[in-house]
Symmetry: C2
Subunit: 182 residues, 2 copies
């Protein structure tokens, strides 16, 4: 029911951000607090332990070289192995489980594809993503039609919202493919 293997959503966010440029834990906190990235957790008790775990895995390294750091700052850079791990993680096929349980994760994976994997893989991801959603929507609709009559009103409306969300995501993915092609 999980199989996400390694990277938690927060760890992926951290690794992805550090892959774009070196960052400290404090930088990460600011990003999470002041940008829509903040959907994913927040604060010291999560970030610093996660940083340490990722460092122990060897995917980032503390690098306090650059000039006079008068302050105690731990600047983390991604390592070669880290970049490989990220690339591999982002190249993972989209499963139906991902679509059902880890939509956040999928969007995060996509958001970090720019520098990490080529445009072909990005487009492939989006195509798979849309296809998996389509398949899942078929299931949802089947259930919906069979249960519609016995569902209470709010339950029915909530289900409609769920289905529409999925459909919107699939549409978005197809539009994104168009944009990426140009």
């Amino acid at each position: 029911m999980k199989e996400k293997a390694d990277l938690s959503t927060l760890s992926l966010a951290i690794l992805g951000l550090i892959s774009q440029r070196p960052l400290t834990g404090y930088d990460l906190r600011k990003i999470f607090l002041t940008t829509p990235m903040g959907h994913f957790s927040s604060s010291p008790g999560a970030i610093y332990p996660a940083l340490k775990r990722i460092e122990e895995t060897g995917w980032i390294r503390c690098d306090n070289s650059e000039g006079r750091t008068r302050r105690q700052r731990m600047v983390y850079k991604i390592t070669a192995r880290g970049r490989n791990a990220l690339k591999e993680h982002l190249s993972q096929p989209v499963t139906e489980e991902d679509v059902i349980w880890h939509m956040d994760d999928l969007m995060m994976r996509f958001a970090f594809m720019d520098g990490a994997v080529g445009p072909e893989k990005t487009v492939r991801f989006l195509r798979d993503f849309a296809a998996r959603i389509d398949a899942h929507v078929v299931d949802l609709r089947r259930y919906f039609e069979s249960a519609r009559s016995i569902l209470p009103v709010c339950g029915r409306l909530a289900m409609e919202q769920g289905i529409q969300s999925y459909e919107m995501n699939a549409q978005w993915a197809r539009r994104a493919i168009q944009e990426l092609r140009s």
Copy 2:
């Protein structure tokens, strides 16, 4: 950053389902495994402890009265206090934190409003929900416009997906209000 107070999402799902009719842990598992409710967790290790916690809080009670239960089955019913707690939880105002961090929870709250709170409260919930989302979308768009130029392509597309999701939810809420009025 949390303040959800008591009920975890899973506990709310369980309490809500039991409020509709008496259920066993196994019934709950089946529901989670075979319906779109399954978005929320799943299996014994989560459900049985949650049931026990809710029972200890006094919101559900094991009731093995009804006739010959040849099997060992723990049938749980909601108590009066449980119904009150549920009603109160569902009547909680929608906060911006909810919209940002607990959208799942909000949808669950809505899905169980049928029997628990009156139609006025349901409509009020939807109105608040839409208004909070609108406010949050304003923030997101402001950030988006200021960051657009420095955002990598996939990051930008992912953000657009996020904003569109919120907007879709607000639209859905307004349509739901119309439907509830008739």
